[in-house]
């Protein structure tokens, strides 16, 4: 081809990479890097979306196959009827607020027990069951140094409410704790600064709530006061982390 290549070769590269990501031909390492870029770079994410739209046309040639009758009941059992019932929202919020406030002692301990019960040593190859609409995901974050429980969090996928309850004051002298989601495909996503001393709750944005529903773990980094790290990489040290479990 003798066409001029003067116009934006870099954006062509990005577009090709987005196509490779959408097509899923990259090696695991390359894919992880490209996914991280997709998270961090909206223009690139838009390219991936455009490729998905183009390439999905290939599916037109796929013959449909009727699923067995037992698939739908299993799906139906996986979606919680209460969770998406807006009328129950207040009650749920009240319950969780009470939990978050009372969680510093006994409840935190029992949550750890629950997490242990749930935590099967599943092989890495077996992805955790997909959280259905309206499940609660919990994590107990332990300190990187010493392993003591530091924070418990609970996330309600139906409402997008995230509750953060420190069990020991982690707001040390030298930084502001920031919460991160660890994505199943690798990489992290910043949720934001958290109160390291008192229980608090926030409602995640639509973009974040999807990720909170699929994240495999959460972590806390200590960032220098007055700074905000990039959304995909902590600047300060990671002081605590824990796996997210479905309650």
């Amino acid at each position: 081809m003798t066409e001029s290549t003067t116009e934006e070769p870099r954006s062509d590269d990005a577009r090709t990479l987005a196509g490779e990501l959408a097509l899923r031909v990259l090696s695991p390492d390359e894919e992880r890097a490209a996914r991280a870029r997709e998270q961090a770079d909206p223009a690139f994410a838009g390219e991936v979306e455009a490729w998905n739209a183009h390439l999905a046309a290939f599916a037109a040639e796929v013959q449909g196959v009727q699923p067995s009758a037992e698939v739908w009941p299993r799906i139906e059992a996986g979606i919680d009827p209460v969770a998406n019932d807006a009328a129950n929202d207040n009650g749920r919020l009240g319950f969780w607020r009470g939990w978050a406030i009372g969680s510093t002692g006994l409840l935190a301990a029992s949550l750890v027990a629950v997490a242990v019960l749930i935590a099967r040593p599943a092989p890495v190859s077996e992805p955790a069951p997909t959280p259905a609409g309206g499940v609660t995901r919990v994590a107990t974050l332990t300190l990187s140094e010493g392993g003591a429980p530091a924070v418990t969090i609970a996330y309600d996928t139906a409402t997008g409410n995230l509750f953060v309850a420190p069990t020991t004051a982690i707001a040390a002298s030298d930084g502001v704790p920031h919460l991160w989601l660890v994505r199943p495909e690798g990489g992290v996503q910043l949720v934001g600064a958290i109160d390291g001393a008192e229980a608090s709750h926030r409602t995640l944005s639509a973009a974040l709530s999807g990720q909170a529903g699929t994240a495999t773990a959460v972590a806390i980094s200590m960032e220098a006061p007055g700074t905000t790290p990039p959304a995909d990489a902590p600047r300060g040290p990671v002081v605590a982390s824990g796996e997210l479990q479905q309650l």
Binding site: D12, R15, T16, G19, E20, L23, R24, V25, L26, S27, P28, E49, W51, N52, A53, H54, L55, A56, A57, F58, A59, A60, E61, V62, Q63, G64, V65, Q66, P67, S68, V71, W72, R74, I75, E76, G78, I79, P81, A83, N84, D85, A86, V124, S125, E126, P127, P129, T130, P131, A132, G133, T157, A206, G210, G213
Partner: protein, 185 residues
């Protein structure tokens, strides 16, 4: 049996499901589960695994339906993308290579009749892709199609076709570039 829906009806049902409407979600399932199971079965080795992934897929759909934007994506594209990505994730998490079968028919693209679109599919998009695929070299066309339908990586494609990895990458990259400039012309 699968209910026949127009694209707009399907988009509407998906939006309703995103607001927590279980009967709309059931409608989405009825209209699309056969197609999505077909997509899963192209990628995964057996029906049980495929149905397992299908179940996962719809649980994800239920959870994420609130983020579906009918102005930005066609509903079937959105659903196929989730089913395909879930299937590939499962395939790659399950360790060793299955099927050492060579790429069946990779180079002869199915003819127009086999590509006949269903009501819920975006006929324009399918037509445009096919026109543009016609303009690719046979090799590039075959491997891009195989990569999509079977969810295989550069590495696996290079092995199957018995060419160096670099050659496979350049076939696909060139193909993607030409495809994209055609699709957007």
């Amino acid at each position: 049996m699968a209910a026949m829906l127009t694209r707009d009806e399907l988009a509407g049902a998906l939006v309703q499901a995103g607001r927590g409407d279980r009967s709309a979600f059931r409608t989405v399932y009825e209209a699309t589960s056969a197609k999505l199971l077909g997509v899963c079965l192209r990628i995964l080795p057996d029906r049980q695994t495929a149905e397992d992934v299908l179940q996962d897929t719809y649980l994800t759909v239920w959870r994420k339906a609130g983020t579906f934007d009918p102005a930005r994506a066609s509903p079937i594209t959105w659903l196929v993308t989730i089913a395909r990505n879930r299937s590939i994730d499962r395939l790659r998490s399950a360790a060793p290579m299955r099927r050492a079968v060579p790429v069946e028919d990779a180079h002869d693209l199915a003819d127009g009749a086999a590509l006949a679109s269903e009501t819920i599919e975006h006929a324009d998009e399918v037509g445009r892709l096919n026109v543009c695929l016609e303009q690719l070299e046979d090799k590039a066309r075959g491997v891009i199609r195989t990569a999509f339908l079977e969810g295989v990586t550069y590495d696996a494609l290079a092995q199957r076709e018995n060419v160096p990895l670099g050659t496979m990458k350049s076939w696909i990259r060139r193909g993607l570039m030409r495809l994209r400039s055609c699709l957007e012309s």
